[in-house]
Symmetry: C2
């Protein structure tokens, strides 16, 4: 039996979800609340096991993201599937950072939400395609790299840049490349000029990938 909890302020959506999963075989809605505060008051982590929480992002009072932090701190094993009407980039990343296992649009059919829950319980994650795209675009380096490439770094400079990004000192870079420290400094100066920074810390903070 899969124990579900639902946190959703819209009473009709909460009703639909609760009714649907209550009727489904193998699922049980053990808690249904209209706000994080309500959920917080009613849930006794030690007594009530919850496998998956379906949680709205835009809750009145404390947000759904706060809810994620709280739930994961109380019960590491409990998974959280965020549900929202928004496709806001920021919210998505905040939820994921907090430890959510999935993120689906409210427009998602109930059957797909059910599939998502099962995916989560099988060690996967559930994401609506549009959400997945947002997440994927986060990794896309094509622009970032071109940002560096467009500054016309020479091969040598790119090589040194990669050492800089590893946090190496000039002396270490010089040894690695069998160059004099002065030469390394020379190239670094040019890199700074092209990338418009004035210290290695600034450079790494701005341009380091990952």
């Amino acid at each position: 039996m899969i124990h579900l909890a639902i946190i959703e302020d819209n009473i009709s959506i909460r009703g639909v979800l609760t009714d649907y999963f209550s009727a489904e075989q193998g699922y049980e809605v053990v808690l249904s609340a209209g706000s994080f505060e309500k959920f917080h008051d009613e849930w006794r982590p030690a007594d009530t096991r919850i496998d998956v929480v379906i949680c709205d992002i835009g809750l009145p009072g404390k947000s759904g993201i706060d809810a994620v932090w709280y739930i994961k701190s109380k019960s590491e094993k409990t998974h959280i599937l965020m549900l929202t009407v928004f496709e806001e980039r920021e919210k998505i990343f905040q939820s994921l950072c907090a430890g959510a296992s999935g993120y689906m649009l409210k427009s998602t059919p109930l059957a797909e939400i059910k599939t998502g829950i099962n995916d989560i319980l099988n060690g996967g994650a559930a994401m609506s395609p549009k959400i997945a795209m947002q997440v994927i675009s986060y990794f896309n380096k094509r622009k970032q790299v071109s940002a560096v490439e467009s500054e016309n770094l020479t091969a040598r400079e790119i090589e040194i840049l990669s050492f800089l990004e590893q946090g190496l000192a000039n002396k270490a870079i010089a040894e690695q490349m069998s160059l004099s420290v002065d030469t390394v400094k020379f190239h670094i100066k040019n890199i700074y000029l092209k990338l418009q920074v004035s210290s290695r810390a600034e450079l790494i903070a701005k341009y380091k990938q990952f």
Copy 2:
């Protein structure tokens, strides 16, 4: 009509994919190759529009990741769905960085691959749940934060750490926090001690999130 290309060295898998999509209404397989090199020779970007490339990761010769870079550089609008037997974290991220729009396991049913392609063409992304989990876990800060927290950084140190990660100089940090430069230096020394580094560049390179 959706124009597909398939790059896959396993002849039987390539056959299955080619046959399936050739038979599907609205799809046309315009190119089917067993390696990136073959694909490279046969594709004329200017003449042949490709909407989606289904591409294996573990190709003989140049890898699927190289293929992604090449395809995206020649035709920005062409989407790429990576297909693989591996769930390797590194490969996933490399593909996404290169500009892939999706990543599915080879065990995925053909119908789901087809759904994935449609998701991609509708501005979404396609990911198998297990892959999505890998990606999501990348964002999960709960552990990463503890990696820093386990070193027992004090509140003040964490505050300064966040400025360091932005690449700020001591003087700038001092101004931001209304402290003397000496105080900032004092805290930074302690941070270095706890995190076992000896320069800001090394610190940012090692501990910067994202």
